[in-house]
Symmetry: C2
Subunit: 153 residues, 2 copies
Amino acid sequence: MEENIFRKLLEERGWRLTKQRNAILQKAFSYKGHFDPESLYLAMRGKGMKASRASVYRTLNLLCECGLVEKVGKTEQGTIYEQSAGRKHHDHMICIQCGEIIEFYSEKIEKLQEKICRELDFKGKNHTLEIRGYCRHCHAGENGLEGDSSHGY
Amino acid sequence: MEENIFRKLLEERGWRLTKQRNAILQKAFSYKGHFDPESLYLAMRGKGMKASRASVYRTLNLLCECGLVEKVGKTEQGTIYEQSAGRKHHDHMICIQCGEIIEFYSEKIEKLQEKICRELDFKGKNHTLEIRGYCRHCHAGENGLEGDSSHGY
DNA sequence: TCTTCCATTGAGATTGAGTCTCAATATAGT
DNA sequence: ACTATATTGAGACTCAATCTCAATGGAAGA
């Protein structure tokens, strides 16, 4: 039961595992992939478990500090989170048509980043690599119409 | 004079090069590096050239569509832009202590991304790679205290 | 030049994510 | 149970960004 991991991590920092925090925790981990605070909040209202918007945001921040959850990025619709406990690091492709998010991982890219950090004397803590474009389903039939081939794509 | 390039691009789309648009254009291009809409707006108020906040946001969106300017990313303080006309694509390191932004470019990383896109049948349009951490000046003297070495850094 | 038409502007209202406030409530330790 | 402290939640607040709509202004024709 992962709740115990949470409790331990929380207690190490002198935090309490309250009903609300636990509920938010459970809900966050019920998502296999990505989620945003507002959806999580609304989804919880539906069920018996409820917590205020303020608590949802507060708790998500705590979970981030614990390293159980992490911010993937900011979009027009707000911050996107995902659970990170036990998950391997990965990067994202985002379809700008349908919004699909595809995860990928490249050992080579990771290594190259480390190399560049060393070269520039930068102490990297984390990073995000986000490729925006059209997914398999959305670029079917298009003839590469508009724009911006300046990046070599 | 780059203004002519702008005018041509605007006219191609049936847009007018108004005083305000031109002023915003000039101001945006006066930045060598990154800028945000609010700063640009405030900086303009100071000078003779002025435009409303609404026009600044509207015009920056137009400039993005033209490809003259591009969104680098979203931060707590809002969207960061940079001019992209004539500039080579590059990625960013951001110091989470002092906010310094370091630009870098890696041909190898670019190529790897293209390869991964092909493999996953994803039509990449653009991307952002952002490494967060501590710059040369800010990590001096630290002993790698807190956190998150899970990414290999 | 005058007039009509339509794009553009700007002040302020509005939205929406996220944070803050603070009184009420819950919990831990004694 | 009592006290001290942590937490909660409703709603106020902040701030970026967009929207509204009356007023402005430039372009093209009469």
